[in-house]
């Protein structure tokens, strides 16, 4: 399937609206009393869930592009990644607001005391440079090679995010969802390892043939 540039920008617009839906749903529910008995918990969990979903979706772009031979998919990746950051920022904001009422000192004490929060916090902090260097201008300034290296941080971020989720669910002794998300992330990362090994082998062959 190939899409011309116009179709691609249409698709991008559709994806933008779809990606915004979870947020709009939250806003709608806030004003219609649709968040259940503990709305603040609902918002915290919901934004956390969507952060993980968007990390998975973003990490799926490259494998899908290769497996389905859809080079133009790459053009959607930045937007999807930034939506991941958007939900992560909302998630962090709910933590700072609802759990600590903007008491940053207290929030930091909580962060260092509790590994489960610390892991999530580190993941969020690591997302910041990625979001900040997402513009074309920044890519040029950083340099494509270094930019790519920097953005490989997303692999670590996804792993930390899954760990954070796993730890949080440990309290409920309910690992079905963390295992599902963890497996998806693991598969997406493993594919990259396999491809990188394959590439190295074929490069070695090439250089062996050349000599």
């Amino acid at each position: 399937m190939t899409l011309n540039p116009k179709q691609q920008s249409h698709l991008k617009a559709v994806l933008f609206i779809l990606a915004l839906l979870p947020f709009l749903r939250l806003v709608f529910a806030i004003f219609t009393d649709g968040l259940g008995a503990n709305p603040l918990e609902f918002i915290t969990r919901n934004t956390g869930d969507w952060t993980l979903y968007f990390l998975c979706i973003t990490l799926a772009v490259t494998p899908l592009r290769r497996l389905l031979n859809l080079p133009w998919l790459l053009k959607m990746r930045r937007m999807l990644g930034l939506f991941g950051f958007f939900y992560a920022a909302l998630h962090f904001l709910t933590f700072l607001w609802f759990d600590h009422f903007f008491d940053v000192a207290e929030m930091l004490r909580d962060v260092v005391k509790r590994p489960f929060i610390l892991v999530g916090f580190i993941a969020f902090v690591l997302l910041l440079p990625l979001a900040l260097t997402s513009t074309n201008k920044m890519i040029r300034r950083v340099g494509a090679k270094r930019w790519q290296l920097l953005h490989r941080l997303v692999y670590l971020i996804a792993a930390l995010g899954v760990l954070h989720y796993f730890w949080m669910k440990a309290g409920k002794h309910d690992f079905a969802q963390p295992i599902l998300v963890g497996s998806i992330v693991a598969i997406l990362l493993l594919l990259r390892v396999v491809w990188s090994v394959q590439r190295r082998i074929s490069e070695q062959r090439l250089s062996a043939n050349a000599s």
Binding site: A37, N38, L40, F101, K113, R114, A170, G171, K172, H173
Partner: protein
């Protein structure tokens, strides 16, 4: 007169929602549900809330115990019956209200056994006649950091304990709760060791605050809240209060309890509400009162023993950091 508000936990009389308002609100929810009954699914939430109320609408008369009245707003019936931790019916807090409706609570027999002179099997009617029904308004503090205020109906657990005459070996009381796969969809997942077990030291169980509960909000307990009988232990985290009890056993050794077995570092046998002993993954210093502490409120401070200092004597000389 100087009215000084000392902390977020003290509520001025002027802040309490008048009873008529609360009742009008419940009536309103019911009305909506009746209207929505024709257009099924449209206002599903309201419908469900009213269903939960109607299915347990059998009144349970009781005399209010004036020793256990709080100057705090009661949690709304809707919140108290749709936001429940009851893993036998699913791990999500909205699950029990949706899946517990079919639980058969009659006939129901509780076997009382172990280190007692008079072991007995009692059916629900016999149990309900052991002592006069009273209503007590208790705070409920969940280990997860939220709280409610609930009017329970029942009688002090000590009434039942005296009846079976524990012998001198009886040091602990163990509660076994129903585990019936055909009625409880949550049992398909081994998130905990089923059946759910809880336990108390016998002096804790004999404490006047320990309450054997058959109803709430003047009605028979809804299934999702532990029907047909549960205990209410307001100075302990909510999970200590076993629901749908089928066996009460008196033992000489400390009973194994469900959450302690699942995560001994996180949930102790005692699990008294204690703002100074954090859960490993979150602070217990503060809590959010369901239905009240909204977006623009700082969480309220959690009180030692959830504000029930009369139990302090039970633990004198004990290191409550060690025996958490």
């Amino acid at each position: 007169m100087l009215i000084k508000r000392q902390s977020g936990n003290i509520i001025l009389p002027s802040e309490i929602t008048p009873r008529e308002f609360v009742e009008a609100r419940r009536h309103f929810i019911k009305q909506i549900a009746v209207g929505a009954a024709g257009s099924a699914g449209l206002i599903e939430m309201a419908n469900r809330a009213a269903f939960a109320q109607d299915s347990g609408a059998r009144k349970l008369p009781a005399t209010a115990n004036s020793n256990y009245v709080l100057m705090e707003n009661k949690t709304s019936y809707k919140d108290a019956t749709t936001y429940n931790n009851y893993y036998e019916f699913g791990t999500s807090k909205s699950d029990p209200a949706q899946t517990a409706g079919g639980l058969k609570t009659r006939p129901w027999t509780v076997s009382i056994e172990g280190e007692v002179n008079r072991p007995m099997k009692l059916d629900l009617d016999a149990l309900m006649k052991i002592a006069p029904m009273e209503e007590r308004i208790y705070r409920l503090r969940c280990v997860e950091g939220w709280s409610m205020v609930i009017p329970w109906t029942g009688y002090a657990l000590s009434n039942l304990i005296k009846k079976v005459e524990p012998n001198s070996n009886a040091k602990y009381v163990e509660f076994t709760t129903l585990a019936d796969k055909s009625q409880m969809p949550g049992l398909a997942y081994d998130v905990l060791n089923w059946p759910y077990m809880e336990g108390l030291r016998i002096d804790e169980a004999m404490h006047p605050l320990a309450f054997l509960t058959f109803g709430m909000y003047g009605q028979v307990l809804p299934n999702q809240n532990g029907a047909p009988l549960r205990i209410a232990l307001p100075w302990k985290y909510g999970f200590k209060s076993a629901k749908a009890i089928v066996r009460i056993r008196f033992t000489s050794t400390q009973p194994k309890t469900a959450w302690n077995q699942a995560a001994p570092r996180e949930y102790g046998f005692y699990s008294n509400v204690n703002p100074d002993v954090d859960h490993p993954r979150w602070s217990q210093a503060t809590e959010r009162r369901i239905g009240e502490d909204g977006f623009f409120a700082k969480k309220r401070k959690t009180l030692m023993f959830n504000g029930y200092n009369e139990v302090a004597g039970l633990y004198s000389g004990m290191d409550l950091r060690k025996y958490f």
